[in-house]
Structures are given as structure tokens and as C-alpha cells.
């Protein structure tokens, strides 16, 4: 049994306007291995639970699952320091968990219950936690927002940076290019991360992008392509990028990944790609299976440990699911609670008149 191993990342990084790239030989300790495996498994199970709750009609509206993409989030998180921040789109249950929200906090948000991290008011796409500036339901919007978080880091001089995540579909949005440009001009500490899962809803990247080498689309901004199914490659690239953006300015990182489920729960996800395609990724490139097998092979984790983690994760998520199913919704008065941080309306208008008194429970973090 080993307590540490040295590993070559599977697929080489590709570089754009960079002479040197991330380390391809990385170290992995047993503790790290256990942690990454646990995190990826938890995300996978959380998403499975979410999918089931949706099918039971307990989760409503949108519900975008991250299954297949776990190594991206876990790899980036592994490299992030306390001062670092992240913002993403609507596929954020996993990130919310990684950024400190409990499985109950995530699942209860999905069921619209009061123990949700946004007390049930935000739902699937609108979760937040310290240093996590949320999901966002508007494709591309989070990218300039993330650049702004990076601006705040630089302004405050706290040494932090921001990861701004977006999909291959979002990568064509004009505001993404505007954000690249300003981040470059102002040397903002921002890593623009394109999670390329090959599809934006039912549209393949080839049908949506004039150039599918997303890591090169920042023009003057350097870029790195990384295997997004390899948690260690993602970690290594992120470590490199954090260092880079804090010294030189922004950079684009493309994580090549795959989403197993449909776009959201209403999409079976099989009209625009074959079942074989999905199966093949599951079998050959699954980020969790491949990591697990590698760790076992290297002697970093035993099969017993794997089983124990699986059990623990399953129990934690099952318990959280049970809780989220029965947890109460906020009282109706929360409809008019915390509309503003500094409410100035005498009365808030209800459906038939100005009959509601704003309730202030929170003021927000920015005071």
C-alpha cells in the first residue's frame, strides 16, 4: 500500500500562446485520493438523487445534472485556495456541494424547501455560498460577472482569483468575448473555463462554433486544453492557471468532458447523439471509474475503502434526500421577505393591493 504516487496525466495538454504548460507529472497522496473519490462520488449520487426527485415531481422546473463532468469541478476545487472564487451557470449542484453546502442544503434547495441553501427561493440554478457566486440561468452572463469578481480580487489585492465557468454553447456568446478582452486589458486574475461537453442542449459544438478549439478562442489570451475526465489533469492545469493569472493576467482553460444525461430533465438526450456514444464514454472515460481503478492499481485506495466510501456517500445522500422530501417550504410571508437589502417601499404590492410589509431577515454580505 502506498501513501503517495507519481502519475502521468493521461492525455497531453494542448497549449495556445503559452511556451510552457501545466505539469504532466503529478503527485497524489492517499488522503487526496480518498477525498477526490469521495467528492466525485457524492456529486454523482447527488445528481442521481436529483434526477429521481425530478421524476417523482418533487423537483420542478429545470434540473441540469452534472453526471459525467465531476472531474472538472473536483479537479478545479482541489487547486483552489481560500482566496479563490468561482462562478458558473445552471449545472451547479456539484459545485455548490464542493463550495461548502451540505447535501441537504443542495437537495432541499431543489425541492424548494426551507433548508435549501437559498431557502428554496432560488432552485436548481440559483445556489450560492461564500466564494461561490452562484449558478446563473442566463447563458453566458456568468462570464463577465466572474471577470468582475476577478476585478474585485485584484482591486482588494487579496491575491485571489476567479474561475468563470461556461459551456461550449455559451462560448459563442458575445459577452464572453467582451469579458476576455477587458480581462486582458486590465490583467484580471480570471481563469475562463470552458467546460466542453460537446453539446449545448441538442446542438453539437461543431454546429454552434466556427472554431471548436475553445482554448484558443481568447485570441490574445493564452489557453490550455485539458482532459476534463481526468481529475488530476484538471487539478494540474488549474494550479498552473492560478499561478499564471495572478502574475500575467487571464487565461482560457478548456476542459474536455461529457454529460451523460439530457440537457435538463425534459430532454432524453438521445435525439441528437446515439446511445452508443454515451455508453462508450461511460465505459472508457468515466471520470470516477477511471480514477478509482487507477488508485486501486497504485495501491492508494483499497477496494474495501472504496466500498466504505460508496456506502457512506450513499447513506449521506439518501438521508439528505429523505430530509429534503419532507422538509417544509418557507411560510408564505417569505414571498415578500428580503426583496431588497435596504427596503424603501412603504408597502409591497400583493396581488390585489399595497398590503404587504417588507420583512427584512438578511442584509446580504456586501455591507
Amino acid at each position: 500500500y502506498a501513501t503517495e504516487a507519481t502519475i502521468e496525466v493521461n492525455r497531453p495538454f494542448k497549449l495556445h500562446r503559452l511556451d510552457e504548460g501545466p505539469a504532466t507529472t503529478v503527485k497524489l497522496t492517499k488522503d487526496e485520493a480518498l477525498k477526490y473519490y469521495t467528492q466525485m462520488q457524492t456529486i454523482r449520487r447527488l445528481e442521481t438523487a436529483a434526477g429521481n426527485l425530478y421524476k417523482e415531481k418533487i423537483i420542478r422546473g429545470f434540473c441540469h445534472l452534472y453526471s459525467g463532468q465531476e472531474a472538472c469541478a473536483v479537479g478545479m476545487k482541489a487547486a483552489m485556495r481560500d482566496v479563490d472564487n468561482i462562478i458558473s451557470a445552471y449545472r451547479v449542484h456539484g459545485w455548490t456541494y464542493l463550495m461548502g453546502v451540505s447535501p441537504i442544503g443542495v437537495l432541499a434547495e431543489l425541492t424548494g424547501a426551507q433548508s435549501g441553501c437559498a431557502r428554496g427561493k432560488g432552485g436548481s440554478m440559483h445556489m450560492y455560498s461564500p466564494n461561490f457566486f452562484g449558478g446563473n440561468g442566463i447563458v453566458g452572463a456568468q462570464v463577465p460577472l466572474g471577470a468582475g469578481v476577478g476585478l474585485a480580487c485584484k482591486y482588494k489585492g487579496n491575491g485571489g482569483m476567479c474561475l468563470a465557468l461556461y459551456g461550449d454553447g455559451a462560448a459563442n456568446q458575445g459577452q464572453v468575448f467582451e469579458a476576455y478582452n477587458m480581462a486582458y486589458l486590465w490583467k484580471l486574475p480570471v481563469i475562463f473555463v470552458c467546460e466542453n461537453n460537446n453539446y449545448g442542449m441538442g446542438t453539437s459544438s461543431e454546429r454552434a462554433s466556427c472554431n471548436t478549439d475553445y482554448y484558443t478562442r481568447g485570441d490574445a489570451l493564452p489557453g490550455i486544453w485539458v482532459d476534463g475526465m481526468d481529475v488530476l489533469a484538471v487539478r494540474s492545469a488549474t494550479e498552473f492557471a492560478i499561478n499564471y493569472v495572478n502574475t500575467h493576467g487571464p487565461l482560457v482553460m478548456e476542459t474536455n468532458t461529457y454529460r451523460y444525461s439530457g440537457h435538463s430533465m425534459s430532454d432524453p438526450g438521445t435525439s441528437y447523439r446515439t446511445r452508443e456514444e454515451i455508453q462508450e464514454v461511460r465505459q472508457k472515460r468515466d471520470p470516477i471509474t477511471s480514477f478509482k481503478e487507477m488508485c486501486i492499481e497504485l495501491g492508494l485506495i483499497t477496494t474495501d475503502e472504496v466500498k466504505a466510501i460508496d456506502l457512506k456517500v450513499r447513506k449521506e445522500v439518501d438521508d439528505a434526500t429523505a430530509f429534503a422530501k419532507t422538509d417544509a417550504e418557507l411560510a408564505v410571508s417569505h414571498l415578500w421577505t428580503d426583496v431588497s437589502s435596504n427596503n424603501l417601499e412603504t408597502k409591497i404590492r400583493g396581488t390585489v393591493g399595497y398590503n404587504l410589509d417588507h420583512i427584512q431577515e438578511r442584509k446580504g454580505v456586501n455591507h
Binding site: M125, N172, Q173, L335, W336, I348, G350, T351, V352
Partner: protein, 339 residues
Amino acid sequence: KQMTVRDGLNSALDDELARDDRVFLLGEEVAQYDGAYKISRGLWKKYGDKRIIDTPITEMGFAGIAVGAAMAGLRPVCEFMTFNFSMQAIDHIINSAAKTFYMSAGAVNVPIVFRGPNGAASGVAAQHSQCFAAWYAHCPGLKVVSPYDTEDARGLLKSAIRDPDPVVVLENELMYGTAFPIDDKVTDPDFLVPIGKAKIMRPGKDITFVAHSKAVETCLLAAAELAKKGIEAEVINLRSIRPLDMATIFASVRKTHHLVTVENGWPQHGVGAEICARIMEDQTFFELDAPVWRCCGVDVPMPYAKTLEAHALPRVNDLTEAALKVLGGKAGKAVAAAK
């Protein structure tokens, strides 16, 4: 005969694509995916890549492209997956489409339709639930329609496509799957619902409800409730928000002397506000026996949680409450008479 709103819209597109070569549809997932909400189901198979165009997720760009194509003689139907995303493209709707005919002194008209679901759907939270009726209807140079049922949807969309000016068609996702009975005439390829005319959905003599889109349903349910109390409410389906068919509202108010406006959008500077002002400025004002009252979406962003969401929009009992309040003493009399 029954038809869903979805099929009403789908057949309207089909008709107009068949009728006029210049008509084409573009938007996200409209072609190969058959539409995010399946409004364009089958059309790509039937009309091909030239007429049914999938776009990347770049609303500002494709709306601008659509407007440019309209300026150059085509008749684009530009679908927003939801109208929330039209905010990214709103400069093209207002500055490029709505104002060009006037700015060019009548030289360049812009025959384009912007369409998609508007307002709250189910469980989609604050960023995906906004009603844009009042915003778009604020702007001269645009026409704005907001169908309620299948007849509206089919007839208004067809009129919009044939219109030489920019028209905003505000649909409602929650209605797409609802089937409504339709007359034979509705399926006629030349069936049109005129833009700018409201429709009386239920006649009544005691009080008028005026609404658009899904709120018409709430009004009809409220009218049914009131009927049990002996109160006959007239329900007006606006169909168009710009032009607003005040003539129909005035005529109704001259009959009922009481008016409640109903909308799922926010109150301030909303549709109901405009109707209040127009009534005030017209002789019909003197026909009112009580002030006009508004029922609107609660003045907060839309929350996700089910109960909160349900309370964020006017419900049947809100409408009956408002009606009884507006009717005041008369409500009592009607109730008594009905007993």
C-alpha cells in the same frame, strides 16, 4: 374539434411558411431538435435547412441577423427560447426593428416576428419568469400580441407574420399543452385574428375583467365563481397589448360600470396601469360606479418554491375578492337577488 395551443402555433408557422417563400424561422433548437418546447415540430423535416435555422446561443447576434434579413426583404420569425433571453437582443428589437421605419421616413419597413414563451412557467424561478408585455408595449413602432387560447395563438401568429411591421408575440409555456375547442374556420389557411382587437370571452353585465394570456383563464374561473353568487362578470381577452383595444373595454365598462384588470406581470407601469389611465382620460370614466382595480403579479422577483410561486400570481380568489370589493354594496344586492 380540439387543438392545443402548441399545434395552433405550429400550424400557423406551417401555413405561413407554405404561403410565402420569404418566411423563415430561426432560433435556438428550432430545427433538428424540433423546438425546445416543440412549437416547430416537424417543420425542419418539411422545409429544410434554408427555412428552419438552428442558431448558436447568441440572441443579440441572431436577432440582429433576423432584423437585417427583414430589412433586405425576407420575413423572419425569430424565436426566443423564452422572452427572458430577449433582453440580450432587446436593442435590436427596439432600436433596429421598431424605430427604423420612422427613422427612415417610411423608406425601410421591417417585417419581422419575435416570438416565444413569456412570463412565468412552472418552477423556473426569478430569471426565467418575467413578463415583458408592458416593456414592449411601451414602445411605438412595435405591435405586441399575447394570445390566450389556440384560436388566438394561431390567428395572431399568422397575422403577425403577414404584418409588414415588427410584431412581438408573447406566448405562454404553460398554455402550450392545453387543448381548446376550435371552430372549423380556425383551421382555414387564411384564418387570421386581427391585431389590435380584443375578444369578449364571456359576456356579463355586472363587472368586467380584462386580462391577457394565461390570466384570461384565471378570469374565466373567477367569473364562474362569481356566477355562483349571482354576479355576472364579463371577461375580455386583450389579445393585443399594443394597440390596446380600448373601444372594447370602454363598451364593456359602459355596460358593467365596474372594471378589474388582471395580469401576471408586475404592477408598476404594467398593463393594468395603462388601462386605468386610459379609462380616466375617457368619457367612460364617468360610467364607472367604482374605481378600477388591478390584480397583478406580486411586486417581487419570482421565487422557486411551489407555494411561494403560487402566491406570487393572482389566483381565482384574488380576483373574486377584488371584484366583490369593487362591486361593494352591489355585490351584496346581486348575491341577495340570486338567492
